[in-house]
């Protein structure tokens, strides 16, 4: 039983299934979770290719930092500020499906029809073992041959961080940031809608005398009828 074949098949299969899950989940947080699982399995494939440093860096940086910040954004974004997600326009949908199929065809032809060739580098296993291992070889080439791109990349990242801070700062330091009381994109607005369809519920807090005076319907009744979609504005643009 060739164990590395089994291992690769397992890692690759879960990777592809999770990638499908990213696209197909209704809940954006679930998409994020599937993406995280996909990244970890990609790290596994890196280990199989003998790039163990890259594998741990993939987990630490990509899964452990970038995806975490992505999940932060998903949880804190104001759903009302999002644009419309679905378009029921038939022409747009048909064009989208056609273009998608064309892209898939192109990629299949590129992969199956030709062989991918590159320039053989001098990073053969013997040379790597000479330098002392993967990490050492990577370090050497990063800090000697590719020093300039490395420094430029770090500058670009620093500019990105400063830009993010400048963009997120309110005009005056005392200004309050307006935010709706939402939980995240994964839930309908607020925690009020916990009852199944058509059930009447009662809030344990009784109406005050002032509220009873106004003559409006009691605040205590929570009725959820119809579609949960009607109770959220996610994907329906600014209302």
């Amino acid at each position: 039983m060739p164990w590395d074949f089994v291992a690769f098949m397992l890692l690759a299969a879960i990777c592809v299934i999770c990638a499908g899950g990213v696209v197909a989940s209704a809940n954006p947080i679930h998409s994020g979770i599937f993406l995280g699982i996909c990244f970890i399995h990609v790290a596994g494939i890196f280990v199989m290719l003998g790039a163990e440093f890259l594998a741990v860096v993939q987990v630490i940086v990509y899964t452990g930092a970038i995806l975490v910040l992505l999940l932060f954004v998903l949880m804190l974004v104001d759903p009302d500020a999002l644009p419309e997600f679905t378009s029921a326009h038939p022409v747009q949908r048909t064009v989208a499906v056609l273009l998608g199929m064309v892209l898939l065809l192109e990629v299949s032809v590129a992969i199956l029809g030709r062989t991918v060739k590159g320039v053989a580098s001098n990073a053969t296993p013997e040379n790597i073992a000479l330098v002392g291992g993967n990490t050492q070889a990577l370090g050497r080439s990063l800090y000697t041959e590719y020093l300039l791109p490395f420094e430029i990349a770090s500058l670009v990242l620093t500019v990105g961080v400063i830009g993010a801070i400048v963009l997120a700062m309110p005009e005056r330091l005392g200004a309050r940031v307006r935010r709706r009381g939402t939980i995240s994109l994964g839930h309908p607005r607020g925690t009020d809608l916990v009852l199944p369809e058509g059930v009447r519920g009662e809030s344990p807090i009784p109406d005050s005398a002032a509220e009873l005076e106004t003559g409006l319907p009691s605040r205590r009744e929570v009725i959820m009828v119809g579609n949960a979609r009607d109770y959220t504005t996610v994907g329906r643009g600014r209302q």
Partner: protein
Amino acid sequence: MADMPLWLNFIIAFLIMNILLVGMAYMTYYERKVLAAMQDRMGPMRSGPKGLLQPLADGVKLLGKEDLIPAAADKWVFWFAPLIVFVTAVVGVAVIPFGGTIHVFGQDINLFITDLNVGALFVLAFGSIGVYGIILGAYASANRYSLLGGLRSAAQVISYEIILGLSLVGIFILTGSLSLREIQLAQQGTISIFGLDVSNWYVITQPVAFIIFMIAAVAETNRAPFDLPEAETELVSGFHTEYSAFRFSFYFLGEYISMIVISLFASTLFLGGTSGPGSGEYWGLGIVWLLVKTILFLFFYIWLRATLPRFRYDQLMGIAWKVLLPAVLLNIMLTALTRLRGNGQISSGQLVAVIAVTVGVLVLIWGLNQLSNRWADAESA
């Protein structure tokens, strides 16, 4: 490192994992006893002689509690999140060396589960994955306050993770390898300070990194004084408010296991791991020394919890980004320069020039900062 048959590997892994789990259970007992001693009381005394069966009682209690899931909770994620924290904490122990290779019963046995050549980063990687347990637990609770507490906690953990990793770069420069076994072996050489021959423990050659590592380790495991996100007086209980019974115990015990693994990690990286008087001849003594050092670190953790008040969240983040990060980067620079000077790759003149330029730039930045503060004050006044 000997090539062991798979069943032997499994037995070693099983043993180490079980010792870790029992250690975690008795860590709760140890903490309660030490906290009690520092607070001039007795701690658990009723369950068993001197309260030694208290962890058992706690376990039975937690298993027996009602398992509540909030109605609006995302069920799968609610179920999944505590497991991430627990599993990633336990896996970290796979690279810690408990000794070398011994020869018993006719077999060559490695006293560690594996020796990856990126071992130190492996522990950090699994710490990074552990953050997901916090974020997803906070999200799945369908509770605004849990979400906020969880996000705060996650931001704290990822900030201190950077510092944790960077504080180890000095050690990697001095050892030339990321493997924990190599790092431990490199500490068995001797260096002489002021005429005294001592073991080359990295706590002596990298004191700043040691201090920063300890601070970052305490913050990483969400322990006091960095436990604002899960303190009882704040945000109810933070991200694990809605968790009860055994799900809560996954978070709770996962935190303790993470403490134990980081203590083992720190002992291996800074205090020489299994080295100590007599550990060369008897491998058992090596394990004893490692456990003694680990218990010392755990005592330090509990001591901090007993004595220090907690940091406010902005103070916490301020310390990470404004104090520890520059300090750790300076440490890396100094270590690298010293290593280059020691190897003769740069001359004394170059060394002094680099340090002078760095100090000059830092003074310049400080000066500009002061100036800009003055201008801002003058403008708003």
